[in-house]
């Protein structure tokens, strides 16, 4: 599939917008539909699309395994870290009201970071699973 000019051009045109849309869904989740789960999946889908068109090695260069694996853990740590931050600042676990002087702004900040954590973990897991499946399929015919 690497020789297909139509797919390559269309892919190059679409992928930036897919990533942009993922960011939009991520950070606009407060106002419109969307949030970390959806955004993570869309971001992962953009990279998977890239892998399907340009081949798995190219995608692995774009998003190396080490990065993807650390994303899997990093997202959960961000989420749990927001909870711990709530304790440190004198509230309960996952209590957002204490994150800022204005409780509403604190809620906003807490939700923002929590959603970010969800997005990072989801996209990392999706990508990692895809790499695992695709990598096995790629390895077997060669042997």
């Amino acid at each position: 599939m690497r020789r297909e000019p139509v797919l390559r051009v269309v892919g190059k045109l679409l992928i930036p917008y897919m990533l942009l849309f993922a960011l939009y869904v991520q950070f606009h989740g407060d106002f419109g539909p969307g949030g970390g789960f959806q955004a993570g999946v869309i971001a992962a889908a953009a990279v998977i699309f890239y892998a399907l068109i340009f081949g798995l090695p190219a995608a692995r260069r774009l998003a190396p395994d080490a990065v993807v694996e650390s994303m899997v853990a990093l997202g959960v740590l961000i989420y749990a870290g927001v909870g711990v931050a709530g304790i440190v600042l004198g509230g309960n676990y996952l209590d957002y009201f204490v994150l800022d002087r204005d409780p509403v702004a604190g809620q906003h900040r807490g939700i923002f970071w929590v959603e970010a954590g969800v997005g990072v973990t989801v996209s990392g897991v999706m990508l990692k699973i895809f790499y695992m499946f695709a990598g096995r399929g790629r390895a077997q015919p060669r042997e």
Partner: protein, 168 residues
């Protein structure tokens, strides 16, 4: 249309078309959810159900071949079990309040507070996000950990196989 898709999935022996039909079913489900005003869920259904899982299932098909094996046993016992469960579930729905009944128990407990106070307490116009990330923060933390665990599980399972292959 969804029923037709399900019938086609059941009758189809070629797994490739089953996967594609599954994606179509997910898109139909997403449109139903949009019609029910559950846009957040519809988005998840379209991207996860129709997008990622179709790709992953196709990847799995690539590994294990595209034809369904002939069943070893007659399916009567599983069919009977499934029918009994369907009957039990249908019987259960009889006790539910009518669709979109505003006086249903679920709508009079915490929902009014979420709908009326969410904007004031969290400053987030999308109530779904407010409930998901703030009121039900623990649930969502659990969900994230479930996703994390799934990823770790897949990594643990598939990586060991790959190392074994390398040794041979």
């Amino acid at each position: 249309m969804m029923a037709a898709t399900v019938l086609a999935i059941v009758l189809q022996r070629n797994l490739f078309s089953v996967v594609v039909l599954g994606g179509i079913y997910s898109f139909l489900m997403a449109t139903v959810l949009v019609a029910l005003d559950a846009v957040d869920v519809a988005m998840t259904e379209a991207s996860v159900g129709a997008g990622i899982s179709t790709v992953l299932l196709l990847g799995a098909l690539y590994l294990c071949g595209g034809e369904e094996a002939k069943p070893l046993h007659r399916p009567w016992l599983p069919l009977a079990v499934a029918l009994v469960i369907v009957a039990a579930l249908v019987y259960g729905t009889l006790g539910l309040p009518a669709f979109s009944d505003p006086l249903a128990p679920i709508h009079v407990h915490v929902v009014p507070r979420y709908l009326n106070q969410a904007m004031k307490e969290t400053g987030v116009p999308n109530v779904v996000t407010a409930v998901l990330a703030s009121y039900r923060g623990y649930d969502t933390l659990g969900e994230t950990i479930v996703v994390f665990t799934a990823g770790i599980g897949v990594i643990a399972l598939l990586r060991r196989v790959r190392r074994g292959e390398g040794k041979q």
